[in-house]
Symmetry: C2
């Protein structure tokens, strides 16, 4: 019987990252952050992160120290084929087990190397050693398997170090294992919002957040955007799903206008998907964002079916020559103006014939602002369905790259609202 | 006297990151990686990273544990004005000191809040408390000061948590403090290279790397690029500088063709600086990179003086309409071909009149490759000084975004070599 079942308290965990490259600062420890997020979602408290090099004495000591307060230790790294990979040996020492050769892993490794046309060396066989009493987790994305080992209410889960292998194993194998241990199922959805700050979002939902027992709500901020995680911990998946959906309905009534995805998609993915599905050809003309919009949209595979072309009209002359913005407009209202933005989008439509044309002009900074038009002022203009409109926005000036990114998000938000038939304030 | 001076061994350090948000996985711990890099550069071995929440008992225990093996502990976080910020109290407990009000910090905080037009609250005064025997480090970028405290050969250095404040304080205050402690000065330069893999770089320099005592050489790889750090640890800055320069001369004789910066600048910064200094107007036409080149160049403030415009000619029609690429060429050789690339750059010059015109067409993937023209094949064409040339390259296909980024680097490398009068293979 596990100790947390005896106590009825939340399970407590320590995350141990093994690898000298972490102590050299050659790589940033993203594994610890990922595992912390996931364990918190599962209702498990994380008390410590430890990082240690390939040193058996220190690793063993840290595992012992972690088990003083915690029931669960998750290690990453040190499962590889080389001499200095010692995590398995140490965990066996601490939890009183010994290593045996795991036949299914040997088979898997043999077919893995055969597929690559390589001979399996002896030190690769070392990867098929696992503690005799452990639950083995097959590594779908690499060679070293992971495992869970229990002794007297203490559980160690050992995972490979490469983030891609580790996250895949956690999602597919470790999460169900932990759900079974803790006798409950976690379901969550991540909503993504634009046009509302994290503190406003919190204010709008404060009663739900304060009263939360289940589902729980958590807000996150990320470069001008917000996320809201709605999570439920129940004894069955159906119950958890129903609870999450019902809370999301309430959230939608409050801040639905700002939600652009209920499935943790990025805004450009949402917009690209709609354009591709509805076969709407589009083009862009950018000044202050300097190609960031086009670059972001063309990250999406398959976008070439609808993206016709983009202009980065950085000079005034290029705005006139490429888009037919009149020299008079530029002289009278300036390159950063509602009038210029509108002529950019309309010119873009004239030149390309695309049914959707988006344009932006603004001041990205750090120089170039005036009292009248400060750094962060942008004009976003869109021609769609025979109508053209222009949004004037003043972005909170953080840095050149922040301002450019936010201007890009405003362009995407404009298209998204137009495609949904929503009003643009 | 400090214990490492007695032993003559390298100083040993533990990094302790304090913050519940780290244990929730809300932020990734970049501070530990930064400090590890810096300490290693200073010749200090890092044995452990610990992360702990705002819990005085656990924090105190970890600091004690760190001091069992280490002479130096660096903490980040927990210096703020709120109740749960307890790092200072704990460090005083461990190193037998007590907190006093630091008059210069009070003055600094008062002027800081006056400048913001805000009244300083009482809990902000808490930030001016420091251990009575400590060396105080002023926080130029925020409010909470840092400090170093010593007792019986053990040193604790406490730094604020926000990375911007922490790195600035480390660079300006902590580094000189540690150099004095360790009785030596470290000087290093970071060379940046393109067009050579990390393993080839290592091979070309293997004798220098193997025999290294001082200066030391370390290679790093980053998305298609390499860096080489040359560092020297001497008793005076002059000596260290001379040693580094002399080694760099040797390195240049071996791999000089691939070095684009000796000051850790990025390739696009190097290229942008040259174009701005020499007042060379330029324009770009991009297919597979989708605006990434234009977006990267326009990250540099002041580029508008020379960047005329960019085209993202994603469709065949746009290549013809905007750049005058002949329909026959497109039909006969395809959009991804040497012929199309050359007509893109030449057309770009015709349309814009810019003395430097760069164009790219290629297959970013994941779809669209053939046996003849696989994913990763790119053609980079440049018109400059009346001459046009084209490079055919096949990028090792990693992912769409990797391929696009590498194609962008090839564009930058092409311009850089042309501007330097170097041959393009």
């Amino acid at each position: 019987m596990y100790s947390w079942e005896r106590k009825g308290d939340p399970m407590r965990a320590t995350i141990v990252s093994v690898g000298t490259e972490l102590l050299f600062g050659q790589i940033v420890n993203t594994n610890a952050a990922y595992l912390s997020q996931q364990l918190n979602l599962l209702g498990i408290d994380v008390l410590y992160h430890y990082t240690v090099g390939d040193n058996p004495g220190r690793l063993g000591e840290l595992i012992l120290h972690g088990f003083e307060e915690c029931d669960l230790i998750i290690t990453t790294g040190g499962l590889g084929p080389t001499q200095d990979d010692l995590t398995k040996e140490i965990v066996c020492d601490v939890l009183q087990d010994h290593l045996i050769l795991h036949a299914p892993t040997i088979e898997y490794l043999e077919s893995y190397f055969a597929r690559l046309g390589r001979v399996m060396t002896d030190n690769n066989r070392k990867q098929a050693l696992v503690p005799s009493r452990s639950t083995v987790f097959k590594n779908e994305g690499g060679t070293a398997p992971g495992f869970a080992l229990e002794n007297e209410g203490k559980v160690a889960i050992c995972l490979p170090g490469p983030p891609r292998e580790m996250t895949r194993m956690f999602e597919g194998k470790v999460k169900p294992f932990l759900e079974k241990l803790t006798n409950h199922v976690i379901h969550y959805r991540m909503l993504r919002l634009f046009g509302i700050g994290e503190s406003q979002l919190e204010t709008d939902l404060i009663d739900l957040i304060d009263q939360q027992t289940d589902p729980t709500l958590a807000t996150y901020a990320k470069e001008g955007e917000c996320s809201l995680r709605v999570a439920s911990k129940r004894s069955s998946l159906e119950e958890a799903k129903a609870a999450v959906e019902s809370t999301i309905e309430t959230v939608k009534q409050r801040v639905g206008d700002h939600i652009y995805s209920s499935d943790n998609e990025e805004l450009h993915e949402v917009v690209a998907k709609k354009l591709i599905q509805r076969e709407i050809r589009f083009a862009s003309a950018e000044s202050c964002t300097g190609g960031l919009f086009a670059q972001t949209m063309t990250e999406v595979p398959g976008i070439s079916a609808v993206f016709d072309r983009g202009f980065v009209t950085y000079s005034n002359r290029s705005k006139t020559e490429e888009l037919g913005v009149s020299e008079e407009t530029l002289a009278r209202f300036g390159a950063v103006s509602r009038e210029t933005a509108l002529e950019m989008a309309e010119g873009l439509h004239r030149v390309t014939g695309c049914p959707l044309c988006i344009a932006v002009t603004g001041i990205a900074g750090p120089e170039g602002g005036t009292e009248d038009k400060p750094v962060g002022r942008v004009y976003i203009s869109c021609y769609y369905d025979g109508i053209s409109l222009c949004r004037e926005e003043t972005i909170r000036n953080v840095s050149r790259s922040w301002n450019r990114n936010f201007a890009k998000l405003l362009m995407l938000d404009t298209i998204n609202k137009l495609l949904d038939g929503k009003e643009i304030e």
